[in-house]
Symmetry: C3
């Protein structure tokens, strides 16, 4: 990229009145230089089976080009036309044998051959039509694709084939590995394989989920390959990934393996939504950015983020601008709001865009305008911002799935645990990458943080042990290493292979039910919040140092958190789920001990540092609070927005930002 792309999703086909020229005029005034179009237009461009009309698309492309606005075109396959659903009702997702009714997007079976045949035709027609248009800089294949919980017959058949192949037709080995004798579930002939709808076997559930995640990876790659037949050399292909959704982007996406699925793409792209107003911390922008950046080890594209959004999310004055810089500071090269104009009918009427339903300038539009002007001015300083992390989070779709099948809590899941750790690194201004067990480049990092790596092969655990031996550091949480790659619990003394490097083992685990943590280090002895959640392994240190124990007299001889030197490296093992305060103290001490780079500031002041395209060190300072904050020892250099040299200390306004380029 040569410039920061700043823009919005634009749905010409949703407009209640044709105001293309007026919209473009307002975009241009706001320094918007890119739009994303086309994702849900199948029913608009192919009104009947085989009858195509792309003239509205042409009109938009021509007008954007005339205004100098670049366009990313989406393949229109995440929502199917009414005629297709009527003609071939079998394309709809089936769950527990029930075909889902037409209406919502993302509710058909992405592996259904009839769907694929029609999807291929509209993609080819559309690509042939637009690929040569000078406005088009790239393509988005499908949108927020998932497997939609499908358990249609073709999916079931595909899954049996997949198991056959994996186990080389050896039914006995398969039955044994998945423990299918349990409750008489043994499968003694492939044709007896029951539907996964009713399975009570967590290993099968997890394997079925892995298979369905693979369907998503395959489907996206199939679309990428189709688009590649048409795209011009300078046009990129991306996708819009999203995250576990709790009204905003919360954690690892359970239904898609981003790490695998991104391999086929040129750029990683995604949705990043977050709490707003007094609830804004920047954490979601940071974690989602860290993940998207690590996917391709490159800058990424924010395909969607909120403008006004729901009534809970309308930003305070200043927050939208701050957030644009927040994305850039995590390595984004594009920020696109979802969406330009609020929609006048149907499901997302109250997820408001930059413009309200009246299309008039408003405070949010005005802040986009201000931000656009600043980005335009500073683009060459900000684009292609490169970041080097010393710490990697090792997340795992397989372990997330397995922990869903075998939860450690009624209230919290894998992502809660991941976020409990991530959030403290973020608040302490320790820079992190996020990757998985199949893609991690261990030796790029000094510290690997491993939340609940529950289902994992022996081989990988040995690789981690070796990494520690030769000088690496690891933080493990409880339940790590417990089960193998098919979610079969290990018969070793737990935590199995992890024991070697962590220097602890355990025979039993219990529910805290009011048990408190007892710190054994100076920092941990002083914590105010000594509560424990969900899980307590009764750790027996073999060679490890005890950092904390439990207050229950029945279990007070056991360790709760330990640290162990192993070879040239070390391991912290958290056998329990302590408070945020305890995690902060643990991380702060450990980061110091193993000598990672840090900053003097903590949340609400967030600092993000890296190299810009001009080869200079760039340091972002953010204030995620409604109170003014002092930065006491800023990096010396030029503050870009004000174009002033930094002083000995400076003030960050509420929801403010400063960007210092070293001299």
């Amino acid at each position: 990229m040569k410039n920061i792309l700043y823009g919005t999703a634009y749905y010409y086909e949703y407009l209640p009145v044709d105001r293309l020229d007026k919209d473009i005029e307002m975009m241009t005034a706001a320094n918007i230089n890119v739009v994303r179009i086309g994702e849900s237009t199948w029913g608009t461009y192919e009104k009947q089976d085989g009858v195509f009309d792309f003239s509205p698309l042409d009109k938009v492309l021509d007008a954007m080009h005339a205004a100098g606005i670049k366009v990313i075109v989406g393949t229109p396959t995440y929502a199917i036309p009414t005629w297709l659903a009527k003609k071939y009702p079998e394309v709809m997702v089936q769950i527990n044998g029930q075909r889902q009714p037409y209406g919502a997007r993302q509710i058909f079976d992405i592996s259904n051959p009839t769907f694929l045949r029609y999807a291929e035709r509209i993609i080819r027609k559309m690509m042939a039509h637009v690929a040569h248009h000078p406005a088009v800089i790239g393509f988005q294949v499908d949108n927020e694709t998932k497997h939609y919980g499908t358990s249609s017959e073709n999916v079931q058949k595909g899954f049996v084939q997949y198991i056959k192949q994996e186990f080389n037709n050896d039914l006995d080995r398969f039955n044994h590995e998945f423990g299918l004798d349990y409750w008489s579930n043994r499968i003694n002939a492939w044709e007896d394989f029951p539907s996964m709808d009713g399975t009570i076997n967590g290993s099968l559930k997890a394997e079925f989920d892995k298979y369905r995640q693979q369907l998503v990876t395959d489907y996206l790659k199939w679309q990428v390959d189709l688009v590649k037949e048409y795209r011009q050399p300078d046009q990129f292909i991306t996708h819009n990934f999203d995250f576990e959704w709790r009204g905003y982007s919360y954690g690892v996406q359970p239904d898609v393996n981003h790490f695998d699925a991104s391999e086929a793409l040129d750029y990683a792209g995604g949705d990043i939504y977050h709490p707003s107003r007094k609830h804004l911390t920047g954490t979601e922008v940071s974690f989602a950015g860290d993940e998207l950046r690590t996917l391709k080890h490159d800058n990424y594209l924010v395909m969607e983020t909120q403008a006004q959004a729901f009534k809970q999310q309308v930003p305070y004055p200043g927050q939208l601008r701050q957030l644009a810089y927040s994305h850039l500071a995590s390595g984004a090269n594009m920020i696109e709001y979802w969406h330009w104009h609020s929609i006048h009918n149907s499901a997302e009427t109250y997820w408001k865009g930059i413009l309200s339903h009246d299309f008039q300038p408003n405070p949010v539009y005005n802040e986009v305008k201000q931000t656009g002007a600043e980005l335009k001015k500073l683009s060459s300083h900000l684009v292609n911002f490169k970041i080097k992390s010393e710490v990697a989070f090792l997340v795992s779709n397989q372990s997330l799935t397995a922990v869903n099948a075998f939860p450690f809590s009624d209230e919290r899941n894998y992502n809660d645990l991941f976020r409990s750790l991530y959030d403290q690194f973020y608040r302490l201004n320790v820079r992190t990458d996020i990757t998985d067990e199949h893609h991690i480049k261990l030796d790029d990092y000094k510290l690997i943080v491993v939340p609940a790596l529950y289902s994992i092969s022996d081989d990988f655990l040995k690789v981690l042990n070796d990494y520690v031996k030769r000088g690496g550091h690891v933080i493990y949480t409880f339940k790590s290493g417990f089960a193998d790659e098919h979610v079969k619990v290990r018969t070793d003394r737990q935590p199995g292979i992890v024991s070697e490097a962590s220097g602890v083992h355990y025979e039993m685990f219990v529910d805290p039910d009011g048990t408190k943590l007892v710190g054994q280090t100076p920092s941990l002895q002083d914590v105010k919040d000594d509560s424990l959640k969900d899980w307590m392994e009764l750790l027996i240190p073999d060679t490890a140092e005890v950092l904390a124990t439990y207050d229950d007299p029945n279990w007070s001889d056991y360790a709760a958190i330990t640290k162990n030197q192993f070879g040239k490296g070390s391991v912290i093992y958290m056998g329990c789920y302590p408070s945020a305060e305890v995690i902060t103290d643990l991380v702060r001490d450990y980061v110091k001990e193993i000598k990672l780079n840090t900053f003097a500031e903590n949340f609400p002041v967030i600092v993000k540092q890296g190299q810009n395209d001009l080869g200079k060190t760039l340091t972002y300072y953010f204030n995620y609070s409604s109170k003014s904050q002092t930065v006491k020892q800023p990096v010396a250099g030029n503050e870009l927005i004000s174009d002033q040299p930094t002083q000995q200390q400076f003030q960050l306004a509420p929801w403010g930002v400063a960007i210092v380029e070293e001299d």
Copy 2:
């Protein structure tokens, strides 16, 4: 009517022992002069297809006539016989393609032709049999009829026909108005029209609900027309409408348009159920009565109200008697308890009648007896009580439906907002009518109260503006005028056409999330409860006076509640959802300012005034509390129950009532 009708539903066919004579003896002793019979007797009178036996009906009619008790006969179609369900299972309601199993009442498709054929036959047979019986004073068609959520195939087909007609076969206009390009939902051929089961388009959902409400109106009219072929000149036709049910009658009925459906009837009739014991306020009797009275602008019939009912609802001594007068004071000419005897089997065994399962006199029966004697004595003073309201509530089935599709809250719906306003008028003793946008006679009123008139035509909003211009007053709440009659959001600056008369507009709305109201008038400055719920429009006054603002420093420049002079009238616009206390203050001040008739008393003393059939002013005083209350300046006249002239002031006993007829 010449007399107050006082009675009960009577189910001879449910009796475990034949005690008709004993029941009539006890009724006569209690001055019961009317019973309602027959609503769920289809399986009893037509035991097999085409085999009719009305002898039990004859027996009851003859015995009642002999005792001088009048009878209202219900058509027996709200519950179908087992043989019909077995023979034609397709008559049962289908929801999401699933046919509902037989058992409950009101679970078949009221538009199914097979059902209608059999319903017509039993109605004709029954009417032919009873119409000439001298005991019969009128008929109730069906019972608490609704559409029961049906989305059977014939309903879907009917809906497509209805849309075709409405849009004159113009698919493009239909697609545009309903925004069907969204998520590729565009319908490009009528035969592609998908089932409404899965729709995510709020405009379609609302239109489908409107269509299904029309099915109810048509079905009731069809029954009325059938009955008219048989009824004698002095026999009336009514129906038993009910209200949004929250364990009692809470608000506007979402599945039936009472305003349309009542057109075919002679009298409006309905269920009125309410909290009891310490929770009794009389509000439900008042609002339901106001609505039923306004339907035909005439006295109405309470077809059902509680005697003992559920264990939560057993009245304190005195409440049943007080409630009988409460109904009359709202304009009822009949009070019928549901029901005479508690039932010994099946679903409503614990919804107890006047008699417990033992058929013996009990405290509730004894209070019915006392009340019956009083009503008999005072009947000529109380019957045909006429009420004139200066205020009308404008409620809207269309807006209720639309707000369900686009809710402003996770916890509250349209009726909560309606009740938040209604309850304060009630407690301040300001008399109100309740009607809708298609039936309101604007010039009969000085003030129109408009909760969330969300989906409404341009034309009607202009009519409201004109009403203000020529001297009327309106209170609007937030979200009024937002969308057109097809729930398409307006492209005007909000609140659209309402802006003209209200003198405000807004660009954005947000969730309160802890924001407080800041009063700008003497009354509002002093409120203790300054909390806000659910919704905050950021109002920009154009010509309006600001009555309240918000305390969030980010939005403190905006108005929260405004008042505007427009022509000869004025408009209050509530951009937010404040506390009951704030609404009380607003209403009290406004009522005073626009000089509406009021009384010195407030809740728990409720005053209801009107003209009786003798041409005299009648004033009811109620004490809805367990503490004695003083009425300081009662109307001068004769207190009818005690038959004593009123003093300068008098005491109302707990749950007491006084009725003063002017001299």
Copy 3:
């Protein structure tokens, strides 16, 4: 039995590695002398239709026999093979017409003839194979059998036949008794009988549940008869009954009539699970033991109880040992843990056994070892412990079902009320049996406790009145006697026939809604917790003494709890649901008044006394708390565990036990 059986469920077929010899070595070291095997092995032993291989079973039997460990073999029918479900999908349970998908156990129709045909074959093959093996001491038929909510077509047909027979083909009598005229549900021809899926008639619902409970009784008897064809004279037949499940055994099993179903068995056996750690009180061990013991009026078998179980249930050190004695003190002759080794795949991976997944000795195994050694030493003193209760709880599956159809509370059911009473008798150390209306031997008891005997015949109520007249005592709760055996409410003045002996009646009942109890006896006047839950009958004493009244001024003239002398006996009638404190006071006073045997100690010290096989009085003392407790006047004799004579007083350690054998 000659010895206490101490053992575990053992699933050789679930082992991830073959370690039979090692397991037996560890069992022998722990003095385990019995295992239960085989319940879910159908898919393992009959891998394809008609192909049998019992060699793994032989291997286990031979190895156990060699080690002197006895074996109980389960028929393998509670989970069906994949091939059977694939071949005959119609065997799966249907609920609301939906066939349940394969996967879980206990999800097929136990009355389906195809299932029964295949079940019979595997049972015959297996029995023929094992019955002569010298290790086998007995058989368990099926496991935790229920009707699984089935409403398949054959069940519906069977139900209609059953009704026909019960009513001798008299449809009118049936319609009348079940009140089917209500909502036109009348059945006028047997072929019109609708599916029970949609019924709203509580009498029909309860009758259908009774019929389905009979299916369970019949099915178990059918298995018993099959097994009897093969078993040797010294081999017993039992079943594993379980209880209402709330994460542990809570109360009467709603889906099985234990009292009927146990008739075919030699020994009663069951699951007993309970809260643990600080939540352990021993109550569940006691009530479940009381019920199982009373079923056959003999010692019983604990087929399953917890070792580690879920993380919430891992016992404190000492609790597992205490619990073993707790079972024996209620009359158990066998204790089997569920299960030996924790399972490495599928649904119960986290319900941990004696061994963790690593198969290593651990604290729980070590405590089993200690307990096993003690039991071996004391076996002759502890086996065949006989208990004589003066009090019987009269529970009723029919009333439980009826109360589900007509609940008295949104939060509490029949079992809550049962437990509210049972728990206080337990804590006061008053010994109780538990039986039902069809099996109770009234004259064996001085006091009968009757929670909500809601649906009951006239005849039985008269029998209870006679029991009182000749000197018996009864405690009734509210809602007793309300409805007849078909859940038709009586037309008598309530509580109907109960009135005669209780000397009270009532006309009305209301919800407490904050009403408090007002004690009228010395003990009840002083209670701290005077709250009332769910239900208040407004009692009118005829001859009864008033023990408590209500504080609501509207109902203060009524009685809440009464006591009545009738003939030589007496009756307490509780018209309301008071606090545990009130029930304790009532029971303590009454037990004293009617001179039942008691002990000086109360909870947390629990005392259980009876006769051992040596003809001596044995007294168990338990401390269910984490604090040491003093027993002040213990029985004189020898404390068996320490083999020391008892002192004037002694200390019970936390979670301790002492067993005194009289000299």
